[in-house]
Amino acid sequence: MTGDKENEIWRHSARAFFQAEVEHLMDRLYGTALRLTGNRSDAEDLVADSLAKAWNGLSGLEDRQAFEKWVFRILVNGFVSDRRRQKARPCEVEADREGEFSLFEKLHQPFLLWWGTPEQELLDKLLRADIENALDALPEEFRLAVVMVELWGLSYAETAEMLDVPVGTVRSRLSRGRSLLQSALWHQAREAGLLKGEAKGTAR
């Protein structure tokens, strides 16, 4: 009898807690899922499945302060295991085909500097869609590393642990991912004519 009563109280408070946390995190989880899966319906499924697991496993979460990271971990695991099921083997991307790409260095070429402060100008003109496209175009493993560290603020060690890879692998995927991201932003900016000093069609 007392057990039932206690259980009832626990469920009530768990529900209130879960609802408030989910409300607070929902847009971020969905936005993240959208970047990972690349489409709305898979993103919705991923978030719904992850939250179902979280709701079922809530009593196992000891530290409620850790809810955010815990749910994110469930989401990453769900994504990774879905991908494993879809592909016979994950496509390993070669980590170091080209050298590092730096947007800053590209913007600091004399012919652009002559026109003012190209880096501020680029940041002002970049649209949300530009960044989304650049991120979406990254190979999956690099994208995942960028999302985990840059969007969710995880440490390299936490990322490595969640993905079950060495920290060095996280470091190189992240560095390669950022380099490709900056390279994509640079090419998009050129194509959109965002760089004043660089008239379209200027050969260089």
């Binding site: 847009d27 969905y30 936005g31 919705e44 800053f104 940041l123 960044i131 840059e150 969007l151």
Partner: protein
Amino acid sequence: MTQDLRCEEVIDKLLEYLDRELDRDTEDALAQHMETCRACFSRAEFERRLRARVRDISEAKAPDSLRQRIHAIMERY
């Protein structure tokens, strides 16, 4: 004991510096270098601002259908 870093070393470690992944001494050495080196400072600023822009895209408005699904899941168990 202050370490004197060259710009190339700073640039090499810049992303890990911004990720707060360096050990304390190296982090201090980079911070110190950037107090006096304008070039490295503006490069760090650029990377910081670009990151902030990238972080901005982590949210997207969740559709009502998703909210309804979550609601249903919570009712079921």
